[in-house]
Symmetry: C2
Subunit: 479 residues, 2 copies
């Protein structure tokens, strides 16, 4: 006979082997288990129907056994809950007064919070929602829901047609990428997360100032950071970077090669080349974050680390900023040998991402909407960039300077050392303009004194108003 | 005059202060920057229009300066790319031969891979897709796309109406939860991720065997694990658990209180109570994973750690398994004081999750579809459970035993010690049946010799076929 060990923790035996247990067998079994300490106070007995199914005894037999146990005070029946081994009064008291301990947690990282919704967000890295194709995305979603229906499962690496489309787009930009090398992520943030999780040694070189979410992420994953000073007016001090990298031997360099966050700096080809040489020589991996090039009207013709350095360069990009933040679709392109480990890291983090949004994006790309959209965004940003430069020339007091990225979403405005940017930020907030003081971006000494000016998010009228206010506040601060 | 520092790394000066620079000024500026080492080979000069905008000189002036530089061999013009400081031949050669180093990564964790798609997946933790309301979800998606349109942004904590609905549902199950305590996550996996990231000390007590994705996740986050032996036939050895917890002082206990993965064990009320007492006494936090109770037809009436222990218990649950895996929506309920840190951890990991899927789920809940769906799933699982018990009784050889969870998705089948489960798994695979050997689930010594039998995923005919094959293979193995 098959040996059943019953519902969680009590064992039923017939008095006679091979025969179905009687009600008394059940009662005896409970009493025995109780004596042996295997049915403590509070333990729930199996539901009547479970025993019924298991042993083939009738519902009535089980019910009368339970009634008997309740009558003897061994058990209590709780309506709609079942039958439980009885507690004594002291035990019941203890349950009522329980209050678990909360775990101790780390300090909350100083991530930038949302600005008041009516403020002009002069430092936003987002694109003006008015420029985003929400209706066309909704069209694609309707189409996806009509034709193949919702898939029940997800591919942990990401929706295969979308991976193929991404590989094709990158190949057209001189990056030879196979769909099997593409891992879809929740924005590019998850791409950074899974790469650093996967590192055998978590030592990461970062630009300084660095994208603060990346910095806090790497720190949270226990990485040791090597800050590499970046001055957007001077370009990269390659000798300085080489010295730090040779000293610290980081396992990875994380760099945003276009519109570096927060400085807006774009790497020069000779700088990319020097980093590739350093990677080769020091066995330091490269993680290139290329969020910005799609926003530049000549971005297709600018080389990337991935284009110059080939397969071994890890390359992250995202549709979120340029298409729709709430879509949360980014991707990572990885060396073939690293893909299984990186997909495993993604599975540890989120298992996979929603099928629906990936399918909607795939439809959007398939219809050619994304290229149309990018051209429109680029034209709008070119125009806004020109207006921003005009307004800066007209409104900023002497002693201020700004980078000239040639278009795209954002530039860096540097103000004189005498200006306290933190204080300026508070004063601007009082006037309804939000600027980011950038303090959290510095992993090393704070060698710049400025902030992002984003013409991508702010419309032309607001931009002019915000820069007028900024000019006045700066003049005040510099007095 | 405002000081412009130009495109990345070269500085333009007029011969006469206050006058617009001439073409010769531009040429001289480039030559000077080149001499001073600030314009290395490969550096790109600013686009013509950027200088035009910046200095107000005409396009023609800039163009003739650039033509002059190209003519002198100082620069090269590349069609559609721009004007670059010239490389010599040796430098060009070097660029072409660059190949970056790939970073060294950790060993890939032994996560279970996908079973062949035509295999009967006897150990799956998913629900049969035939039971999932895909058409109703598509209806809700169409409605969401019609009425409010796509939101451009996402709430990092999760879509507010969905958080309110979750809080209300939990409150109806004796868990007093405020919407501000709910954090939407990408499945419950992300809930585990953000909790362990947030721990001040990453020492985690886990059931043994433990849900293997949780184990690998915690290890990847650098946590020290304390395995707590769990025998689904014997219940929890509370004295043993107490001893380990007092010795190791973990900062958190992670437990799956219903249908523990992989054993299918459900905690008894007195066991929950004992863990709450331990938490109070040792300041160990509790993270309860309650994925299973919604699948049990009497699950509403079973207490949880969160219901008994109140606010300080961290509580994770998910809609993915029960509703649609590809939706990837789970949630975490946290003590109020911990919410800001936990939301920050989510932002570090993924910034936020797609708005669309959260809005679709909210609509689905709002229409009452989820309750209807759960009742249908519970009825189907009850029936499958009964069939599974029948088939086990009929097919399993003597010496096998299985748990009786009373319904839900899965039970644990224990086979005699003489059977090599790894080998059995290979033999079953050859016969078209996938079972999980569970080796990866053991953080400590492997004290069980069995695997999950999931009646939730496998239809009745397949289940009977699979168990017939299993019975035969087991008899073979036990010979």
């Amino acid at each position: 006979m098959t040996q059943h060990t019953p519902y969680h923790s009590f064992s039923i035996q017939s008095a006679a082997a091979g025969r179905r247990p009687t009600a008394m067998d059940l009662v005896e079994s409970v009493l025995r288990s109780r004596r042996e300490g295997r049915l403590p106070a509070g333990a729930r007995l199996p539901p009547v129907r479970a025993i019924e199914r298991q042993l083939g005894v009738s519902k009535n037999t089980v019910q009368s056994a339970y009634d008997e146990l309740v009558a003897r005070g061994v058990c209590v029946a709780r309506e709609r809950e079942g039958v439980f081994v009885a507690h004594d009064a002291a035990e019941r008291e203890a349950i009522v007064s329980r209050s678990a301990a909360a775990p101790r947690v780390v300090a909350t990282p100083a991530l930038s919070g949302p600005a008041p919704s009516d403020a002009i967000k002069l430092s936003s890295v987002f694109i003006d929602p008015a420029l985003l194709p929400r209706e066309r995305l909704a069209d694609c979603a309707r189409s996806v829901l009509r034709t193949p229906g919702l898939d029940a499962f997800y591919d942990p690496q990401g929706y295969a047609p979308l991976r193929a489309q991404i590989a094709e787009r990158l190949s057209a930009r001189a990056m030879a990428v196979d769909p099997s090398q593409v891992i879809i992520t929740t924005g590019s943030q998850q791409a950074l997360d899974i790469v650093v999780r996967a590192l055998a040694t978590r030592r990461v070189a970062v630009e300084d100032p660095v994208y603060s979410h990346a910095r806090f992420l790497f720190e949270n994953l226990g990485a040791t950071l090597s800050p590499l000073r970046l001055d957007p007016f001077e370009g990269i001090d390659l000798d300085g970077w080489r010295a730090v990298i040779e000293r610290d031997a980081p396992s990875l360099l994380y760099s945003i090669t276009r519109f570096q966050n927060p400085t807006g700096y774009s790497y020069q080809p000779h700088e990319l080349d020097a980093l590739l040489a350093l990677s080769e020589r020091t066995a330091m991996g490269l993680l290139e974050d290329d969020w910005g090039s799609d926003m530049l009207s000549d971005g297709d013709y600018r080389p990337t680390l991935r284009a110059l350095g080939g397969d071994n360069v890890l390359y992250a990009n995202s549709f979120t900023k340029k298409l729709l933040p709430s879509l949360r679709v980014g991707y990572l392109v990885a060396p073939r040998a690293l893909v299984p480990t990186l997909v495993a890291m993604k599975r540890l983090s989120t298992l996979g991402n929603p099928w629906l949004t990936e399918a909607v994006l795939s439809e959007f790309l398939d219809r050619g909407y994304y290229d149309t959209h990018l051209r429109a965004v680029q034209a709008a940003l070119d125009a806004r960039y020109a207006r921003c430069l005009e307004a800066l020339s007209a409104r900023m007091p002497e002693g201020c300077r700004w980078t000239l990225p040639g278009g795209g979403p954002t530039l860096w405005l540097e103000v004189p050392r005498s200006v306290d940017v933190q204080r300026l930020s508070a004063q601007m907030a009082a006037r309804g303009v939000n600027i980011e003081s950038a303090a959290a971006h510095f992993a090393g000494a704070r060698h710049l004194n400025g902030f992002r000016v984003s013409y991508a998010f702010v419309g032309e009228a607001d931009l002019d108003r915000a820069l007028t206010i900024l000019g006045n506040e700066l003049r005040e601060a510099m007095r």
